[in-house]
Amino acid sequence: MILTLLKRELKVARRNWIGLAIPLLFFIIVVSLFPFAVSPEAPVLQKLAPGVIWVAALLAMLLSLEQFYRSDYQDGSLEQLLLMSSPTSVAISKILAHWLLTGLPLVILSPLLAVLMQINYGSAGSSHTWVLMLSLVLGTPTLCLLGAVGMSLTLAASRNGLLVSILIIPLYVPILIFGASTVTASLENMRYNGELAILGAFLLIAIVFAPFASGRALKISVG
């Protein structure tokens, strides 16, 4: 069942690829602003890199959220999905699609940004880029899961767009803290296992609660 739903999500998204590409482009462009705004010097950029890349990733996730939910709600297909399958499985398929089409590309693009932000300055051949990717791999699914709850809640609301950001950003703070500090720890040649473990714990908690909450919220939005 979830597979059928997921296949549909992926197919619709693929046909609408430009909508997916824009948040990714945004991700890159926002990060590339910082050298202009702060300083192009490598040590400065390197210090900023974890935070900047993580904030940009978080905003890109928020931006791309809309298209996985909004059109289904507006054209009435969401209520058909909810009639024929459980709300939780609808939520799961959307969360998975959102991660596969936004979270995963962000992870794949992050080494490019690591280069732009001079993450390997002064320590050639180090594993900082891998740590960044790993933190995003563990962190972005949680962003998808929480974002799904927020988006499902605001579907039927009249003022939308920025509303979901207001609801969700406070909940994103812990992920941002540990995501960025994983990378910072690596840059400072400290152990970062603890941070990664906490990111993993957040992910597990979110997996338990978020699909259910999002499903309930979808049902309420349609009702």
Binding site: T154, A156, I166, L167, P170
Partner: protein
């Protein structure tokens, strides 16, 4: 037990709740004013200044800051409990309670931030420090404002109630996570701990506890006032509301 259950059910009736709260409110206000008068007397006049840490008179800010901060958290938890009751038992008055707690809780959060900031200036020389508690309070304020914004964005109130309830519950799961994360992050950056916990001198305890009690009651009174308005707002078409408004009913309904 059966009695408690029946009472719980009666509270679900808007008319009953409106009448009962109308009876309670004067008593709560009376107790609030008495406690507040005594509390203010102690906190502003009859209590010593702080000498050990050199805070002097600024310790008096604590007597409003600590109650406001405590209430900001408790109010959110109360919201989440009422939200759960509303969702599980489909109790509309519980949703009305959630909506009524939110503005008062947000006000308490704002006051905790404001007084914390004003306390911070003379104590550590800056209006704002990214310390764990202040940062958590700030995020808590965003959660309250998020709830209010979400609730206001629906034209259909029952949808607004349910969506808001889910948000409140998701938020309350996140509050400890946010708090612990921010605390960990804060120690990482060696920030101050403003509200550093030490054994509180008994001389400061009396005004603090009095003010805590007064502010709790004040909070309850304000929430009940808001709840009564909310009940009328939600039942404008009911006959008993018309009777109450036109004074045809013998039952006491005025606040």
């Amino acid at each position: 037990m059966a009695n408690a259950w029946r009472w719980f059910h009666q509270l679900g009736s808007p008319k009953y709740l409106f009448q009962k709260t109308g009876q309670w409110l004067p008593w709560i206000w009376g107790a609030t004013l008495i406690l507040l008068a005594v509390g203010l007397y102690y906190s502003l006049w009859a209590s010593p200044i702080e000498v050990r840490q050199g805070q002097g008179h600024t310790v008096r800010i604590m007597y409003v800051h600590v109650p406001a901060a405590a209430l900001s958290m408790i109010a959110y938890i109360a919201m989440a409990i009422a939200a759960t009751v509303g969702l599980v038992w489909k109790m509309k008055m519980a949703f009305a309670a959630v909506r009524s707690i939110a503005p008062v809780g947000a006000a308490m959060t704002f006051l905790a931030l404001f007084t914390g900031s004003v306390w911070g200036k003379p104590t550590w020389g800056t209006w704002w420090e990214w310390d764990a508690r202040m940062t958590s309070e700030l995020l808590l304020l965003f959660l309250y404002l998020g709830y209010i914004a979400l609730h206001a964005s629906f034209s259909d109130r029952s949808k607004a109630d349910k969506a808001g309830a889910i948000l409140a519950i998701v938020g309350v799961i996140n509050i400890p996570i946010i708090y612990l994360s921010v605390k960990w992050w804060n120690t990482l950056h060696q920030g101050y701990s403003v509200t550093e916990e030490g054994a509180l001198d008994p001389a400061f305890q009396t005004p603090l506890f009095l003010m805590l009690g007064a502010m709790y009651l004040l909070f309850a009174a304000l929430v009940i006032m808001r709840l009564r308005a909310e009940i009328i707002l939600r039942n404008q078409k009911a006959r008993w509301v018309t009777e109450w408004a036109t004074g045809q009913s013998t039952e006491r309904g005025d606040a």
